[in-house]
Amino acid sequence: MKFSVGHGKDGAVERLEKRGVTRRDFMKFCGTVAAVMGMGPAFAPKVAEALTSDNRPDVVWLHNAECTGCSESILRTVEPYIDALILDYISLNYHETLMAAAGHAAEKALWDTVEKGNFVAVIEGGVPTAVTGTNNEPGGHGKVGGHTMLENTTKVVEAAAATITYGTCASYGGVQKAAPNPTGTKGVGELFPGKAIINVPGCPPNPYSLVGTIVAFLKAGVPELDDLGRPVLFYGETVHDNCPRQEFFDNDQFAPSFGSEEAKKGWCLRKLGCRGPETFNNCPTVKFNQYNWPVQAGHPCIGCSQPDFWDGADWDGETYMYADLTDF
């Protein structure tokens, strides 16, 4: 199959190989993305085409009320590494953690892109909206470049071709929204109903879920979303659906404490607060850092891709992360 890379000035294969990405590596990556997207290996070439087509979209990445964990998470992708792909298939014009310019020079990079239009916005962080300050500013708890995050985000989302909210904070508000939400923080979707917004939640999410979302969007627009705005491709199953400890769950074999013999034997963690059955995410299959995930490391799932997981889950009772959930 033929595919072009970037502007197609040179052969695609040569461009990627010059970055140390062999064709084999790249197709392996596309195979991984295809698998994560629930497609068979035959779809790897389609993924490759989407990733290396001529139209490199402009992308701006905003940081609002956040911890930068989501930005860190995207640096963890491999096969090939994120630098090769980002240099080739998107033009990342604004990203406060990585970009060389600062201050006015950085702001110009953002607003020039917004003015030009036809870009994809990636948002990290919830948006403070509470009124505060001498001048009664809505969203005054968070500012960038002297303007509120609320003001900046509004301008960007209104001009964007599409917006991807990466992480639970941008998708649904996140940790700062937990009761009593001192800054009136909201998720982006709640603030801009009707705009093309794709939620890719997690705290942080699996970076393949972001790459796969971008691939899907470039190929065919907004992918199928569930009722929480999440791509079904990555959030269609619960953590429990794919948990290797399911047999213990089915046999009511629950570890009673972290220091117990049962915990050592790898029994189910439902009695210690595991929210796998209520949480939609791909952690057990795709894992994190190509190695591990919480239950494999012996710790219950805290439900981090569900809205408002900080304040509870789908059960009645006192809210805390190590609650005994065996009755639910």
Binding site: Y94, G142, F258, K264
Partner: protein, 572 residues
């Protein structure tokens, strides 16, 4: 090096107001306002721009949950807050004295990997672009660069494992050329070095070598993070610590331990063969920066407790201590009762300085025009003094205490630069200290893995001590995080969090003036001899700001001790 004559490019004349907002290549939201006169900063305000209120949110919740909330203070300083929180709970309930040895070792190993990841990424991806002109690669002679690469790689050891080849360097040069030719520069858009900048003085070959390593470091950090995930479940945001220990039983098996060793070995080689040599090569060109950006007082909480020594800061491999007035002959014991936080210049209702256990604060924003109250960070002070925390403080305290590895490698770096200890009190010194600490932790890690293996071989496989939550308790967790001294303070009443306070390294460093109007360490450093060549592209401000590796999300918090009804959180 000390007493070297003032040199460097011609500075800007006249008076300029310089505002850098956003400060990029940090974590979080920082605004720096400076007044520059005849090329020198004469006044400055360090202004944190985001408030989230995590401590308000914690009140009334289960103490065991705190670590998950606080870890979201920062995803760059990931794990450090979870560790501080769980240590504060362990300390409050008393299980710290009964911590299984393997739990201490595993927590330390994940921390060691975090140091290796964090310092490496900081040097290359957050700091380097202040000194390295990526576009300057294009005039580099690749053959000459390959020779320099070979020589530079041998700075620390004579048989480096990691040396950039001529092919690597050509590929990197071609990559840069493609980006520049395309006209769409991505993250290099509007970079300060574009078109040339008098303050960027590396020869083209050094620019090419550093850019090549920037790209390679982007790959290497994946491995450092994966090493953390071996026991930590994932990075960012580990999920393996609990009150009384850790949860990762599989982590005691040969497979996990050997996987960690393999990943860690590669990262260690990169630190020895690339990070430290690059640091010394760049520092050797930017020698002026040994006279810029210094501060006065330094504090370390120590880190890497010995097995059995969780409750004793002096058991730690990195030692605690306090130094005043750059006096390395007098290291004082760290006394937690001397910590207070001030709010006169911060966006909180005015109140007298308070110790963390007694903090009472209310957020009160005014505006960006307010020159008196100008930051969401409070001003922590130790015995009323502004103290710097971070790698430089860790190195100075441990060097002064004669800790052997710190003595060896601080001296090694000073000799390599032809400098005396005075050079440490500067932006260059702070930057070098980060590399030194990274190297020392990397070299020690293997021993800690062997300690774990030995325990397991002897049949000790305990990793968690089950413990009941008392009704009332109070405790503190101290961490020397990669950015410096971090402390979490918890008061438990009726088994719930009655009060939770975070005093964070970036607050110590990046915070504003205090009640006595004494500038914070970053402000003091920026006022120390900082030249500005081009007020429109004030890279010199970035060099010193970045030398602190700021984490603003960590540093802004509110200690809320509002008494009120304990909230029952409605389940959604």
């Amino acid at each position: 090096m000390s007493g070297c004559a003032k040199s460097g490019p011609a500075v800007a004349h006249g008076k300029h107001d310089v505002v850098v907002d956003p400060v990029t290549r940090i974590e979080g939201h920082l605004r720096v306002e400076a007044v520059v006169e005849d090329g020198k900063i004469i006044d400055v305000r360090s202004s944190s721009q985001l408030f989230r209120g995590l401590e308000i949110i914690l009140k009334g919740r289960d103490p065991r949950d705190a670590q998950h909330f606080t870890q979201r203070s920062c995803g760059v300083c990931t794990y450090t807050h979870a560790l501080a929180s769980i240590r504060s709970v362990d300390n409050a309930v008393g299980v710290d004295k009964h911590m299984p040895h393997n739990a201490t070792i595993i927590r330390n190993l994940v921390m060691a990997a975090q140091f290796m990841h964090d310092h490496l990424v900081h040097f290359y991806h957050l700091h380097a672009l202040d000194f390295v002109d990526v576009a300057g690669c294009l005039s580099a002679d690749v053959d000459k660069t390959a020779q320099i690469a070979d020589a530079v790689a041998k700075t620390v050891r004579k048989d480096p494992k990691f040396v950039s080849s001529k092919e690597d360097l050509q590929k990197t040069k071609d990559t840069v050329k493609k980006i520049v030719d395309s006209g769409r520069l991505g993250i290099f858009t509007n970079a300060y070095f574009l078109g040339g900048h008098d303050a960027y003085i590396l020869p083209p070959e050094y620019n090419l070598l550093a850019t090549d390593h920037y790209l390679k470091a982007l790959h290497m950090q994946v491995k450092a993070a994966r090493a953390m995930a071996v026991w930590g479940a994932k990075n960012p945001h580990t999920q393996f610590t609990v009150m009384g220990g850790v949860t990762c039983y599989e982590g005691l098996t040969d497979k996990y331990i050997n996987d960690f060793l393999a990943l860690y070995a590669e990262v260690k080689d990169f630190i020895i063969d690339c990070y430290i040599p690059d640091l010394l090569a760049v520092a050797g060109v930017y020698k002026d920066w040994a006279n810029i950006g210094g501060t006065t007082n330094f504090m370390s909480f120590g880190e890497f407790p010995a097995p059995g020594g969780e409750a004793d800061l002096n058991s730690r491999y990195e030692k605690p201590g306090v130094i005043y007035n750059r006096d390395l002959s007098n290291v004082m014991d760290f006394d937690p009762s001397k910590i207070e936080e001030h709010v006169k210049h911060s966006w909180y209702k005015d109140d007298s300085p308070k110790h963390p256990y007694a903090g009472v604060t209310d957020p009160m924003y005014t505006s960006l025009d307010d020159k008196t109250k100008y930051s969401w960070m409070k001003a922590p002070r130790y015995e009323g003094k502004a103290v710097e925390v971070g790698p430089l403080a860790h190195c100075l305290v441990n060097y002064a205490k004669g800790q052997p590895e710190f003595k060896t490698y601080v001296d090694f770096v000073l000799n390599a630069l032809g400098a005396g200890p005075d050079a440490l009190f500067s932006t260059l010194g702070r930057t070098a200290a980060r590399g030194i600490e990274c190297l020392i932790v990397a070299l020690k890690t293997e021993e800690w893995v062997n300690d774990l293996k030995e325990n397991v071989a002897k049949g000790d496989t305990a990793i968690c001590k089950d413990w009941d939550m008392p009704s009332e308790a109070q405790g503190v967790g101290f961490v020397n995080a990669p950015r410096g001294g971090l402390s979490h303070w918890i008061v438990i009443k009726d088994k719930k969090i009655d009060n939770f306070q975070l005093v964070v390294p970036s607050t110590w460093n990046i915070g504003p003036r205090c009640d006595a109007d004494v500038p914070g360490p970053l402000e003091e450093a920026l006022l120390d001899n900082t030249p500005i060549v081009d007020p429109e592209r004030p890279v010199e401000i970035l060099r010193t700001v970045h030398s602190y590796d700021p984490c603003i999300a960590c540093g802004v918090h509110v200690i809320d001790n509002k008494t009120g009804n304990v909230k029952k959180f409605r389940v959604l």
